[in-house]
Amino acid sequence: MALAPERPRIYEGTRIPSPTPTVLQVPADLKSSEDVLTVNFGPNHPSTHGVLRLVVDLHGEEVLGLAAVVGYLHTGFEKNMEQKSWWKAITYAPRIDYVSFQNNELVFVLAVEKMLGLEVPVRATWMRMLLAELNRIHSHLVWLGTAALELGAISMFWYCFRERDRILDLFELVAGFRMHTRYFQVGGLAEDVPPGFWDECAKFVELMPKAVDDYESLVDRSEIWLERTQGLGLLSADDAIALGQSGPVLRGSGVDWDLRRAQPYLAYDQVDFRVPVYQEGDVYARYRVRMEEMRESVKIVDQALRRMPGGPWIADDRKVVLPPREELHTSMESLIHHFKIVTEGFRVPEGEVYVAVESPRGELGCYAVSDGGPKPWRVKFRAPSFVALQATATAMSNALIADMIAIVGSLDTVMGEVDR
């Protein structure tokens, strides 16, 4: 192998643009230059992962100025959720980020449970963790496939989507839906796990680490891939924190931070996993973090499979949880409970909570306010993609136009979540 060329190294301190942290300004001496060309990139461009628009000032191939424009996919999820009862609003949460749907569902359900003070059975907690980790692998696979595709590695896309499809099969098996499963219910799970799931999931656990090996052997030794990812899109640890970056972007900049370990929720404090951290702060470091996270997620899924507790899968609180279907034929009370929950919805005590989980993209938060009635007063999602896009201007300092695709891709943004 040829000697690796010298590549830009991560910088110390800060280089966030000023005065606006999210807009890269053309240097004053070049502002009136005729060599600077302003190009509109997107919102309809296959490499923007949706509808991101970038207004780029180019000097030759060099990116001098940059402003990200979002909002093309704004669908008013938060306004709509205010019109629905709490249990109907669960349906909206996974659609916000359509790649990590189960994590979004989870954070909303956890927020409602926190306000209700509801205890969730251990089986539901472990099953939620298992599915959240499968979902993390799913999300990273979609990222890897599309990011590699944008850099010319077309075959990666097919390999990643082959494994992704296996995960979707598992979701279908367990919930009846491939995406937007709406399997998490306030109080636990919507249904018990079907018996055939365990074997199929164990097969996947067997197969997935080998698949990750395959991906690595395809791209990790490829000179083109290394050339196009190393030393690009640099973000120092200080800048990453100041810009609110989380998840693989933060860990790729050398900050050892993962909410699953720092602030354990579900049963993450009872399983073994490692938090991968890379110091380089470039596109390659983010890629490495995601690859290792897939391996760690497989380990968590494996432990959850082996140690899945038995018992009930949903809380026994008839004022919140739908009664078992068969009871409706024999019990008057169950019929009343069912009718009241479906028509009015359950009531959530007055208050406000903020709950955060580690989604595949970083800190996913849900701020919910209740006035004590059956509908949310306000629901706000802290979308990690929305925050990640704020780092484009900083990460794009000194970049070339061709690297722009790699850098934006490495932030792993899902536009549905950015615009909500």
Binding site: K114, M115, G117, I241, V353, Y354, A356, V369
Partner: protein, 182 residues
């Protein structure tokens, strides 16, 4: 335990659902933010969420009771009697959800209250990530942030009228544009 007594402009400390809320004077929010960041180590702004409380407490709420603790039959709203939620100081609240990246992951909610037309000092200089969050709050609620370098709409069109997440903004009331009109 963190000591919040020295936070500038502190009005009230609330502790509910295991979360601490610091209500501070809106004009002094930058001082409070700097104190929290530099003295208490809250270096990470997780989220900035505005809420419109128009109509809050005007109508009683009742509904199907959700918690074992809430089943005192004599308590208003358990049996269909309506109960009024607790009053709020102003129309809008802005909640800054802060996190310290250190052992124990301490979180705190910094909250300010403003009325329609009042503005809040921008915290972009304290946490650069507030840039888009404040633009979002401006766009969807019409709360202005003084000193923000680029306070413009972010999710809605630049020429959009009204602020959609306000409670008096009707759902389904948005104007529909047809290309033939132009």
């Amino acid at each position: 335990m963190l000591n919040f007594n020295r936070v500038p402009g502190l009005v009230e400390v609330q502790d509910r659902h295991g979360e601490t809320t610091l209500v501070v004077d809106a004009p002094r929010v930058v001082d409070s933010a700097l104190h929290l960041r530099d003295e208490l180590g809250f270096n990470f702004l997780s989220d900035l969420a505005a809420t419109d409380y128009l109509g809050w407490g005007k109508a009683g709420v009742s509904g199907y009771i959700g918690t074992p603790a809430g089943r005192d039959l004599n308590e208003p709203s358990t049996q269909g009697y309506q109960r009024l939620p607790g009053a709020k100081p102003q129309r809008f609240s802005i909640s800054y959800h802060l996190l310290a990246l250190r052992e124990g992951a301490p979180r705190v909610r910094l909250q300010v209250w403003v009325d329609d037309g009042q503005s809040v000092p921008s915290v972009v200089s304290v946490w650069p990530t507030a840039d888009w969050f404040e633009r979002e709050a401006w766009d969807l609620f019409g709360i202005a942030f003084d000193g923000h370098p680029n306070l413009s709409r972010i999710l809605m069109d630049d020429d959009w009228e009204g602020h959609p997440l306000r409670k008096d903004y009707p759902i389904g009331g948005e104007p529909v544009r047809f290309s033939g009109d132009e």
